[in-house]
């Protein structure tokens, strides 16, 4: 689809001090519960009949980590394979990604592995990747073993949790774990705060260094 541009927020000067902003993207096969995870994390809600996502949706949520405030700018992407061409627009320049699969479907786990590979190859080198085995409340229909996913995550250096957007199990925890793992050393410099997490380096990668031209100059 329309593959141009980067969904990177070109920030103005940020607030002072202890606020870090991170761009986080959710990836995974459709109907594994990406939107539900975000909805649970951001609004504390769960909709049984969560609508499918077309293109992408955007939400923000702030979490407190000791004396630090971490603001997540979350891009929730469409799961259908066809929307794949849009994905780079969203994960380009992201500091964190949650790759989601559904523990009751083996295929979604294979798809998750593909996403992880793609992120490792194409996204920012320092990106923090978490793997979420969602729908843990349906454990009696489990098709993906916890140990298998955990072993895979260890091999690839991923954060791993089984989550349930429905019961809220591990939802906040996985976001918090990501927040903890994200590098925050750059944040000391006030100017970098607004530039999202680890600062201008990532924006350069995205090619969207200057405001106004964000949408057009990178391919």
């Amino acid at each position: 689809m329309a593959g141009r541009g980067t969904a990177q927020r070109p920030n103005g000067a940020g607030a002072a001090g202890k606020i870090c902003q991170f761009k986080l993207v959710l990836l995974g096969e459709s109907a594994v519960g990406k939107s539900s995870l975000v909805l649970r994390f951001v609004k504390g809600q769960f909709h049984e009949y969560q609508e499918s996502t077309i293109g992408a949706a955007f939400l923000t949520q702030t979490v407190c980590l000791d004396d630090l405030t971490v603001k997540f700018e979350i891009w929730d992407t469409a799961g259908q394979e066809r929307y794949h061409s849009l994905a780079p627009m969203y994960y380009r320049g992201a500091q964190a990604a949650i790759v989601v699969y559904d523990i009751t479907t083996q295929d979604t786990f294979s798809r998750a592995k593909t996403w992880v590979k793609e992120l490792q190859r194409q996204a920012s080198p320092n990106i923090v990747i978490a793997l979420a085995g969602n729908k843990a409340d349906l454990a009696n229909g489990r098709m993906v073993e916890f140990d298998e996913a955990q072993a895979y995550s260890e091999e690839n250096g991923l954060l791993f949790m089984e989550t349930s957007a429905k019961t809220a199990m591990n939802v906040n925890d996985i976001f918090l774990a990501i927040a903890k793992k994200l590098p925050k050393n750059d944040q000391a410099g006030g100017g970098a705060v607004g530039q999202g997490g680890s600062g201008s380096r990532r924006l350069d990668e995205g090619g969207a260094g200057s405001q106004g031209s964000t949408g057009k100059c990178c391919k």
Binding site: M1, A2, G3, R4, G5, A7, Q8, R9, P10, N11, G12, S30, A31, E48, Y49, Q50, E51, S52, T53, I54, G55, A56, A57, F58, L59, T60, E73, A78, G79, Q80, R82, Y83, S85, L86, M89, T104, K135, D137, L138, G141, K166, A208, Q211, G212, S213, T214, G215, K216
Partner: protein, 888 residues
Amino acid sequence: MEFFPLGNAELGIRTFLTSVHANDQCGSDGLPLTPNSIKVFGRFQQLKDITHPNLCRYVDIARGKHERLIVVQEHYKTSLATEANSGIYSCISTVIRLAYQILQGIDHLNRQGLVHRCLSPKAILIDGVGCAKLTNFGLYTMTDYGTSVDFPIGSPSYLAPEVLASGRLPATLQLLSSPKTDVWSLGVILLELLLGIELWSKLNMASMLKQVICLLQSHEPVQDIAHSHGVLEKLKNVPSSLLDLLTKCLTVKANSRPYPSDLLQHPVFAEEQLAKVPSINGLHLFTGKLRCRKLELPPVNDLLAEGEEAEDMPTDYLAERGMDEVYYLWSLAGGDLENELSKRGMIKKKPPIFMQPNVVLQNGEPFGQEAHRSNTLDETVVCLSLDTLKDRLKEVHPSIYFPLLEELKPVLPMSPSMSDLSATATLPLIIREKDIEYQLHRVVLFKRLLEGYPYKRSQIWREARVDIPPLVRPYVWATLLDIEGDVRACYDAIDKRTATATDRQIEVDIPRCHQYNELLSSPESHGKFKRVLKAWVISHPQYVYWQGLDSLCASFIYLNFNDEALAYACMTNFINKYLHKFFMKDNAAVIQEYLAVFSHMIAFHDPDVSNHLDTIGFIPELYAIPWFLTMYAHVFPLHKIFHLWDTLLLGDSSLPLFIGVAILKQLRTNLLSFGFNECILVFSDLPEIDMEKCVQASIHFFRSTPKSATFRQHARPKTKGEKSGEGRALYTKDALPLADSEGERCAPVSARDLFEPWCGSRPPRPPPADPPPARSTIQHPARPGALPVLVIDVRLSEDYLRGTVPGAVNIPFASAFSPDGGLVSSSAVSQLYAHRGRLVVVVGNRGNHAAQFAGELVAIGFSKVCVLHNGLDALKSTGLMSVPRPEI
């Protein structure tokens, strides 16, 4: 569309409760189980299509609180139960006729795959002319063969032994009843009539059941039953052929009992078969059936007789309208089904404080209050009173019921209430849709027009521009989408079963698509979704399934719930018209072009918003893909989509762009003050949009935009039937390279648009009705010369003086702007400022000076700026250029 007048029928309602799932129970997919009432609601819909002279029509179903369902059906006050002892049935031939009518009704049900299963004298109504009409025949089917309800289905004394024998089993474990069970019931009913008694009436339930089941041992059940009631001698009066029919009906072994269709051939019906009148199937649109079958004039004598009567008897015009129409109007007149039941004490409301449980477990299971489900089935039928409705319509002039379609200038019919109606037409849509008189007028008019489709196509278009009454929306949409031919045959020929690679995707999308709607969340509808989507994917090999197609499909399924073929045909034509190439496997180019044109349109109509969004990098790619890919069906709830598409369908494939601009315009104040994050949050969770305003605004934008400004290379090429470019390729924007329009702020227009008025003549909009309907309030300029266009030639003044577009002013690009970005003042510039807000076309040479200039104009807030495509070079050979008049 079928037309069955109310006649002397009444609308009766009956109610029952479905069984309730245990609290918090989930299916294997983790989703809560579909409530039984929703399931029944979906299964009910097919019943609305069952029409037969011996069957009462189902009109509607509604869900109430606590899993209550209320069913509306054609009803008559007299039934076989009330008439049995009136003496009419002492005549053998009347009984035979009755039996024949009942069998025909049952046979028709069987042909639709239905079994009555609760046939009893109460379920056989007798209409005004003594014709039998079966009622309540859908209960067994709509309750999924009794599995969705806690009560058993059928009157025990009329149930066949094989049904009673399995009676102790839960409904889910019972075998499905065959059509033969109804044959037994018919046998019992006939026997009762002939014997003149009610069978087993003196026994309690247990002994009655025992007696019937004991018949399984009997070799001559008819005689045995008569014997046990001590009326054996009465059988002697029964003619042998009828007795044979009875014996066949009351065959205890279901295997050897005949089917209803077999019985229709029984010799006892020889006379009835001869007198049988073929039933009229009503008017079917969009099928291969001949419509003229209905066109049979009554004999002249009858006409004369009626004419004489009519003089002294006021005709009940409402009774001549369709049942669905009368019910629709009854609802508009304040009718409320639940309220009707409460009035009769059939729903007893307890104050909530008395409903509190004593103990609640941690999992939410309540204890200590008996479930408030005393009446899971109430056999009472409540008739809806039409008095209020008739009272509200008593002022309506008869001409409203019989609109003339052939007048050159259609006007609202004159009547005492005429002033109301023409005033109503200007009121907001929401009010018009609730106005009984207005809706009556519109529905009657539309039904007449639809009967004349496709001959009346242009008039349907004209009326649709005023508004579309919700009752006829499915058919009006189909006509607006130019559906013709035998859609059913086309649809039936498509393989919807073979598994394909997209099945999984379709299956995960459907249970998430507009599920707040009770109809679309029913399992019945999920099946329809799946079949229609699969049919579309498989018959369009050049396209693939993209998420979003499900949303697109939803409104067609909802509107044509009983006609998948029509839903499919509408969806196909809709996609062809508005989403040409959008569902290609690689649609990047198509969508990019669409979004580029959308950006142009934002800049054209609202430069401030365009400038702001550009500054914060908020590109349409981030928010507008779901808008256009689903034509807003993924963004809005169904009721809003209906109103939006009512208008969308009247425009061409560029109208959706203007709807997008109109949405931005409505959110304008917020957008202008928001940064990137806030903006995207607004679109992730779109605030309430005033649909009528949005629609009006988009029509306004549509009309004030040169046609070629929305040219898209990937748009559907015009078919032969549509207006073509009349071969003037020079003027059209054929083959505009994509790279050209991308990256530029302003839309390019063709030379044709510069010289010719674009407004008013855009196909496929027919000329406005006279007097102008509510929507065509924007008048178009009468003469081409009167168009308020300012042409700015940005070439060097030497070039300009050698020849330019007539009336153009010269602002050479090189010296146009001061370093701070403002325009350097000159007389031409002041002309430009004076012209602000009207169309500005920037012309230049092939280079991109014109585009740059136009972009700068947008940046300083000029709206309606566009660029001449291909520059003045395109005009050089035409002789249309002239030497400008020297400045004074």
